[in-house]
C-alpha cells in the first residue's frame, strides 16, 4: 500500500473502514471477466459465479463458526437488522407482541422497532448503565410472557462497549425468546463462535471489516431453527428469505475481508490496543476530560472522549488534519446531541463536547501522535474562547445557572 501520509488522517473506522487492497484484488475479476449470474444454472458463467458465492459464504460463516447454510446475503447490516427484527416479529406474532431492545442501539435496529410499534407490537427500550453496559437485572424484569424477541448489539458503534452476549443469550434460550445481535461493529474485533453463543440471528456488515459497502449478511440459526418472514420478494433466492440477484463481486469481497479478519484478528487487535493506549495516554491528562463508555469491556479500536467546555463541532473544525466524528448535534442535521451519550446519563454539554475516534488496521503511531498534539492544541485554544471554561475557572458551577433555552 502507498505509504504517503494522507490528510486528513483517517480516524473514523467506525463509520467505514478502508477496503483492504487484498479485498479489492479479489473482487476485480468478478467485475471484469467473470460477470455471470450466480443463479444461472444452465451454463459455465453461472456455475463459476455460484462457486465464488459459495466459497465466500464459507469464509463469512467461518469467522463466526457458523454453518454456511446459516448465512443469508443482504445489502448490509441495516437490511440484516430489518430482516431479522421485522421478519422474526411477523413470523412469531401469534406467540406474542412484545419486543425488547436497548436505547443505545443503532438506528437500523431502533427504526424497525418503531415501525413494528406502528403495526401493533409493543417495544421496551432499555436504559443502560452509566458505562454503557446493559443492566442484566433490568432486562430480566422487563421480560413478559408474551416477549418474542430481544435485540442487543454486540459492540456499540459510538462508544465501542462490548455487551455480555453469552449471558443475554442464555437468558433468551431459557425463556424461549428469539435473540438477535447486531454484530456490525464486532467482526474482526471480538471472537464470535455461534456454536457456543446462544444467538438466533446475527447481523453482519462487510464495510466495517475492510470489505466493500453494499453487502452484508444475516446469520440465521438452524439448531434451534429460526424462521423469518421475507421482507423482499422476487425469485426466492437465499432460501426464500431474501430475493434478488446476488452481487458476486461484493460477496467475494466480503468473503475475502472476513477470511483476512479471521487470520489477522489477533495481530489487528494487539496493534489497535497499543495505539488506543497511546491515544488515551496522550489525552487523559488534559483537565476536565471524560471517557464515554466502559474502558475494560470495549473494543481496542474505539475511543470516545468528551472535552468539557469545548463544543464538538468547533473542535472538529480546528483539528482539520483529522477525520473523526462527534456526538455533537451540529454535525448532524438534528439539534439533539448523541442519543447514545444521553442514554449514558451524560449531560447535554458533555454530549455536545464529545469526539469519537476509531482506529484500525492502517492506523500508525505517527498518526496517533499527530492526533494527540492537534487535539491538545485546539482544546486549549477553544477553551480560551469558551465562556463556560472561564466560569469553571472562576469556580462557578454552570449547572446552577438559569440558562435560557433557545
Amino acid at each position: 500500500m502507498d505509504m504517503t501520509p494522507h490528510f486528513p488522517i483517517y480516524m473514523d473506522y467506525g463509520a467505514t473502514t478502508p477496503v483492504d487492497p487484498r479485498v479489492v484484488d479479489a473482487m476485480i475479476p468478478w467485475l471484469r471477466e467473470h460477470f455471470g449470474n450466480p443463479a444461472s444454472r444452465s451454463h459455465a458463467w453461472g456455475w463459476e459465479a455460484e462457486a465464488a458465492v459459495e466459497k465466500a459464504r464459507e469464509q463469512v460463516a467461518d469467522l463466526i463458526n457458523a454453518d454456511p447454510r446459516e448465512i443469508i446475503w443482504t445489502s448490509g447490516a441495516t437490511e440484516s437488522d430489518n430482516l431479522a427484527i421485522k421478519g422474526a416479529a411477523n413470523f412469531y406474532k401469534t406467540r406474542g407482541k412484545h419486543l425488547i431492545t436497548v436505547k443505545t442501539e443503532h438506528k437500523a435496529v431502533l427504526d424497525p422497532m418503531r415501525e413494528l410499534e406502528r403495526q401493533g407490537f409493543e417495544v421496551s427500550y432499555l436504559d443502560v448503565k452509566e458505562d454503557g453496559l446493559l443492566d442484566f437485572e433490568l432486562l430480566k424484569s422487563t421480560i413478559r410472557p408474551d416477549t418474542i424477541l430481544i435485540s442487543v448489539m454486540f459492540v456499540n458503534n459510538e462508544i465501542g462497549v462490548v455487551q455480555d452476549i453469552p449471558a443475554i443469550g442464555a437468558l433468551c434460550r431459557e425463556k424461549g425468546i428469539i435473540f438477535h445481535v447486531d454484530a456490525a461493529q464486532a467482526t474482526g474485533k471480538v471472537e464470535i463462535d455461534v456454536k457456543k453463543l446462544p444467538v438466533d440471528l446475527m447481523s453482519l456488515a462487510s464495510h466495517k471489516t475492510y470489505g466493500p459497502k453494499g453487502i452484508g449478511a444475516l446469520y440465521v440459526c438452524r439448531k434451534p431453527r429460526v424462521r423469518l418472514e421475507a421482507q423482499m420478494h422476487g425469485g426466492g433466492h437465499e432460501r426464500g428469505m431474501r430475493s434478488g440477484t446476488l452481487p458476486t463481486h461484493q460477496i467475494v469481497g466480503m468473503g475475502e475481508a472476513f477470511r483476512i479478519a479471521k487470520a489477522e484478528m489477533a495481530q489487528d487487535n494487539a496493534k489497535a490496543r497499543a495505539l488506543q493506549q497511546r491515544l488515551l495516554n496522550g489525552l487523559k491528562d488534559i483537565e476536565q476530560v471524560f471517557i464515554n463508555g466502559n474502558l475494560e469491556h470495549r473494543v481496542a479500536q474505539n475511543l470516545n472522549i468528551s472535552f468539557n467546555y469545548v463544543e464538538g463541532e468547533s473542535l472538529i473544525m480546528g483539528i482539520k488534519g483529522l477525520a473523526v466524528s462527534s456526538g455533537s448535534a451540529c454535525t448532524s442535521a438534528s439539534l439533539e446531541p448523541s442519543y447514545v451519550l444521553r442514554a449514558l446519563g451524560r449531560s447535554d454539554e458533555l454530549a455536545h463536547s464529545s469526539l469519537r475516534m476509531t482506529i484500525g488496521r492502517f492506523t500508525t503511531e505517527e498518526e496517533i501522535d499527530f492526533a494527540v498534539s492537534t487535539i491538545k492544541q485546539n482544546v486549549a485554544r477553544l477553551r480560551e474562547l469558551s465562556p463556560l471554561w472561564e466560569m469553571y475557572q472562576d469556580g462557578i458551577d454552570i449547572s446552577t445557572i438559569q440558562w435560557s433555552a433557545h
Binding site: E311, M317, S328, S347, E349, H352, L385, S386, P387, L388
Partner: protein, 128 residues
Amino acid sequence: MAYSDKVVDHYENPRNVGSFEKGDESVGTGMVGAPACGDVMKLQIKVNPRTGVIEDARFKTYGCGSAIASSSLVTEWVKGKTLDQAASLKNSQIAEELALPPVKIHCSILAEDAIKAAVEDYKKKHTH
C-alpha cells in the same frame, strides 16, 4: 459541511476575544444560549458614558464555528456605534455577511440576542 471563507477566517483569527475587568461600570454584558443546546455566547460592550458610543467589545463563545464567527463579527460591527444602533443590528445581516447555511441561522440569531442583551444590561446599570 463546508464553511464559507469568512466563517473560517473568524474561527481561525477570532477578533476581540476576552473579557473586560469585572465590576467596570462602563461595561454591559450579554450572555445568551445554553450549554444544553450547544451554544453559549458572552458579549461585552464598553461604552463611553458621555457620548453613549460603544468604544470596545469582547466576546467568548462556546459553540460551533458559525457561532464563534457570528459573535466575532458582531464585536467588530458594534464598535463606534451608539447603543441604539447596536441594538438594531439584524441577524439577517450577520447571516448574509458570513454566508451561513440555513441550519446555522440560529447562530446569527444568538449573536443578535447577545448584543441586545449587552445593551440592555448597560442601560439597566445606568438608569438609576
